[in-house]
């Protein structure tokens, strides 16, 4: 039929889109003799005909990247509980239950159901490195930095500074593996022209194959204008035995410690740290911990010709120094020393863990996805966890409940639940009994402690919650249900 000739309808559509001033629709051809005034009918026909067209598929489709993931998918029961716990208003991916779930998934070699990833987006982005290859692929989908059109395909010594920073780092890492000195010299030559992020990225690549030959370059970075570059350089220096730069840092820090002596003969009795005048009062603790971070405790003790126990005893009245020493003890995993220091300031345990573990963890996990690169040495080895925890948590000296956020760095240190003996001590502590007896207990603290409770004590804490004011333990119970479902065989 002439009226439905596709070519005519196309011509009519083109004319209607362009406007009649640019060409009238072929009404005569469409409607024959009765064409007069039928532009609207032409509109109806041309428009409706287009609705039957089917879309043309693209010439090629992407090849689906099949990710090999040996982890099992969580059970249906756990799926439902995870969605309730980790999504919705107020669900914070960094809160204790979310972290507990992430560590439990890592420990059990489980992964979230792939269909839940969009709803769990915030959670999986925050803990991607603990959730398996599928989740990592999901969170990095479409994000892989692509070389610019103007970048060379092959990177070599002549053009490496013209490519994107991640490719610069890849190239330097390759050169470092082949010729460490050449890589360092290239980085040193390029440093003045690079931005802070790029400098830090390149400096990280020098961690591989570090040698004494790198010392002058690393020492020269003590005056770098970017704190993160300075800090990274100092950390690399500490890895070098007998570094002069390190000795200078020890001398600088020791020069700020005033020693009072008493007795016959005179013995050092009190140490007092004098902080720089430009450090605000509320940053003194942080400054002290950061200033002491590059060197081992024994080197400091040797400087004063004292034992480390004597140093700790003499620092008992100077809280910033005490806490800096505790951070050092935590970093060196000296549980007995730590226990003595913490007893002087029992509620400061979270500061110690935060400085010794959390800051490193955040830097480290972002850069390296540590489950794939091995356990970093700033985390406790499995056999160290219980003594270190017992040294840190001394609830018998707590006059009040810790803030819920205090448990976060602890959770990082544990990478899971508390050791049973320590958890039992907490669940029987006075602060906990008082908290549960309150008319309005702090729900966040209840949830944080529930998330840290080991499997063996979950029935005990459930029992305790059943006696608490209803409602306040709802989220804590949900977290326990979720952890139980992940532990189920």
């Amino acid at each position: 039929m002439t009226a439905l000739d596709p070519k005519l309808l196309e011509a009519a559509a083109a004319s209607l889109i362009a406007g009649r001033s640019r060409g009238a629709p072929p009404l005569d051809a469409l409607f024959g003799a009765a064409a007069e005034g039928r532009a609207l009918d032409a509109l109806a026909l041309a428009g409706q005909a287009r609705r039957f067209r089917r879309p043309a598929p693209p010439e090629t489709f992407d090849e689906a990247d099949l990710v090999e993931d040996a982890r099992a998918i969580v059970s249906d029961e756990a799926r439902g509980l995870m969605l309730r716990l980790l999504t919705g208003k107020g669900a914070d991916p960094q809160e204790a239950p979310a972290r507990a779930i992430a560590f439990a998934l890592e420990a059990k070699r489980l992964r979230p159901h792939p269909f839940d990833l969009p709803r769990l987006e915030a959670f999986v982005r925050a803990h991607a490195e603990l959730l398996g290859a599928t989740v990592l692929a999901w969170t990095t989908r479409g994000e892989e930095p692509r070389p610019s059109h103007f970048e060379p395909d092959a990177v070599d010594e002549s053009n490496w500074l013209t490519v994107a920073p991640f490719r610069q780092a890849q190239f330097i890492a390759r050169v470092r593996a082949r010729d460490p000195n050449l890589a360092r010299d290239m980085v040193a030559a390029a440093f003045p022209s690079l931005k802070a992020d790029a400098r830090a990225r390149l400096l990280e690549t020098l961690a591989a194959g570090l040698s004494e030959a790198d010392e002058p370059f690393l020492e020269s970075l003590a005056g770098d204008r970017a704190p993160k570059v300075k800090e990274l350089a100092a950390r690399l220096l500490t890895a070098l035995p007998g570094s002069e730069g390190l000795q200078k840092q020890i001398d600088d820090f020791a020069s700020r410690i005033k020693i009072s002596k008493a007795g016959i003969p005179l013995r050092p009795t009190a140490l007092e740290l004098e902080t720089p005048a430009d450090v605000p009062a509320h940053f003194v603790h942080l400054w002290a911990a950061a200033a002491m971070s590059p060197f081992p405790l024994d080197r400091l003790a040797a400087h004063f010709s004292m034992s480390i126990d004597e140093i700790c005893a003499a620092a008992k009245d100077d809280t910033p120094l005490l806490l800096a020493l505790a951070v050092g003890a935590m970093r060196e995993k000296r549980a007995e020393l730590l226990a003595g220091l913490i007893r002087q300031a029992p509620l400061s345990w979270h500061f110690v863990v935060e400085q010794a573990i959390e800051r490193n963890y955040e830097n480290f996990s972002r850069r390296f996805n540590w489950p794939f690169f091995g356990r970093p040495d700033f985390l406790c080895a499995p056999e160290e966890v219980e003594p270190m925890c017992a040294a840190l948590l001394q609830p018998e000296f707590w006059e009040m409940a810790p803030q819920p956020a205090a448990f976060r760095p602890l959770q990082t240190m544990l990478c899971g639940a508390l050791p049973e003996s320590v958890a039992r001590k907490l669940l029987e502590a006075k602060f906990w009994r008082e908290m549960l007896a309150k008319e309005e207990p702090d729900a966040l603290t209840l949830t944080a402690l529930a998330s840290l409770t080991p499997k063996a004590l979950r029935s005990q804490i459930r029992d305790q919650f059943s006696r608490a004011a209803p409602g306040y333990a709802a989220r804590a119970l949900l977290a326990l249900d979720c952890l139980d479902s992940l532990d189920a065989p």
Binding site: K89, P470, R475
Partner: protein, 458 residues
């Protein structure tokens, strides 16, 4: 259907409502807890005020009503009452329904609604017989109103023709730039002309158009205007058209059918069968109503194969208003469809038995993608101003092409562009069965059966 904690979780508008309900689980808070043995529970919950809140719940479909001022639905009291029942720890007394329960049941629609005849009969016994003269007068007034509306609509359609002719004169390529103002203004004129359905289509046109790339907007305008013109022409010639197509035109223009009228309509198609809930969609409309759509796929053989239940609630109620059903549930029911050449919109005339969440009730499309598109073409031929149409297809894959996702026939050449990246987790999931809505340009995936289990659009 016995209430379960899982069902209560689904009904809850958010986690906060569940947490608030948990605080009401103390039996002391409830001076009254009762049930009638026929699926209704009620109770009185002591709040902070002098008088307790009165709560009623229907166990079969999770419907609830409470006298509290909460805008959440169900509110914490309704959820707590269901929870107490599901827990089985509180004692509910078996009692006769009090007046507030009867009143609520009387106002309800759907499967658990009270039979209408009984109250009418009892009222008829008490009320004086209607005056025949008054009835005649009322009927005459209704007829006058109907005729006035018909005349007003026809005048509005003539205006539409002139408005479309002006757009054609200027060329549709220029229209998208000014469409928002022009459509809003003209839609108001059609509202005045009492052609609300057509007015809504025109008012919603700019938002649909702006969601498309600029290059496709003029073409989209051409297709939309073609539909408006077809509706106008069909309405003018409704006496000459087949009755079901005429009914389609009336609905498109804005005539509505009440539930009672639809149930009494002899031409309305009826379908008894087992239905699987495959999607629930909520959309804010320009008329300050939220449209809640529950899409159903028929599990047994028979036509129509799909249905959509529509409810309208005030936008002021917020997005937390819950659906009666959730995807994955299935139920046995008789549906009555609005008369149409391509019946789709329906109401539940009677539900037989409980709503179940049973994994054995799975979407099992009989058509491949090509067959499903053929069915769409058939429906479009029958009802030319069709909007989004349900497609259920087997043996398809979700694949990426650059930044876009496509639904591809696993064995054939057909492929449909997806509306958004909601189905991204299905890339690489292999061959699946999929349900979604096809608007002629983009496919909105809603429900899929895969080797990894069931996928539901988040």
């Amino acid at each position: 259907m016995p209430l379960t904690l899982a069902k209560i979780e689904e009904l809850a508008p958010d986690q906060a409502a569940l947490d608030a309900a948990r605080k009401l689980l103390r039996v002391q808070t409830w001076p009254l807890l009762a049930f009638d043995g026929a699926g209704f529970l009620w109770g009185e919950c002591q709040g902070s005020g002098a008088s307790p809140y009165r709560v009623v719940v229907c166990e079969d479909d999770g419907g609830a009503k409470c006298s509290c001022p909460s805008r959440k639905f169900p509110c914490k009291h309704g959820l707590a009452l269901m929870w107490l029942r599901a827990d089985g720890k509180a004692d509910f007394v078996n009692a006769a329904r009090p007046v507030f329960v009867e009143e609520w049941i009387g106002r309800r629609r759907g499967a658990s609604a009270a039979p209408k005849e009984e109250p009418r009969a009892s009222m008829a016994a008490e009320a004086p017989p209607p005056d025949p003269k008054d009835e005649v007068k009322a009927e005459a007034a209704r007829e006058r109103n109907r005729q006035a509306r018909e005349a007003s609509i026809l005048a509005g359609l003539d205006e539409l023709d002139r408005w479309l002719a002006d757009r054609i004169e200027a060329g549709l390529a220029a229209f998208p730039a000014t469409a928002a103002q022009k459509c809003e203004k003209f839609a108001r004129r059609l509202v005045d002309a009492k052609a609300g359905g057509l007015a809504a289509r025109i008012e919603q046109f700019p938002s649909g158009m702006l969601a498309l790339p600029e290059a496709l907007r003029a073409e989209f305008a051409l297709e939309a205007m073609a539909q408006w013109r077809l509706i106008a022409q069909a309405y003018r010639r409704r006496e000459e058209l087949p009755p079901l197509l005429a009914a389609d035109a009336r609905q498109a223009v804005g005539w509505t059918l009440t539930r009672e009228a639809l149930l009494a309509e002899p031409t309305a198609p009826r379908a008894k069968g087992r239905w699987l809930v495959v999607a629930t969609l909520s959309e804010a409309q320009p008329d300050r109503l939220r449209r809640l759509e529950t899409w159903l796929a028929r599990l047994d053989e028979g036509a129509p194969a799909f249905a959509v239940l529509m409810d309208f609630v005030p936008l002021a109620g917020g997005a937390s208003v819950g659906f009666g059903f959730s995807p994955g549930e299935s139920f046995e029911a008789e549906l009555v469809f609005h008369p149409s050449q391509a019946p789709l919109r329906a109401i539940v005339a009677a539900q037989n038995g409980a709503t179940l969440r049973d994994r054995s009730a799975a979407l099992a499309p009989r058509r491949d993608l090509s067959g499903a598109l053929d069915a769409y073409d058939d429906a479009l031929s029958l009802s030319p101003w069709l909007g989004a149409w349900p497609l259920a297809t087997r043996d398809v894959e979700v694949r990426g092409a650059g930044k876009a996702l496509w639904l591809c026939d696993a064995t054939g050449p057909e492929a449909l562009p997806l509306k958004d990246d909601a189905a991204a987790p299905l890339v690489g999931a292999g061959t699946i069965s999929m349900f979604g809505l096809w608007d002629g340009r983009r496919f909105a995936p809603a429900f899929a059966e895969t080797a990894l289990g069931r996928w539901v659009r988040p």
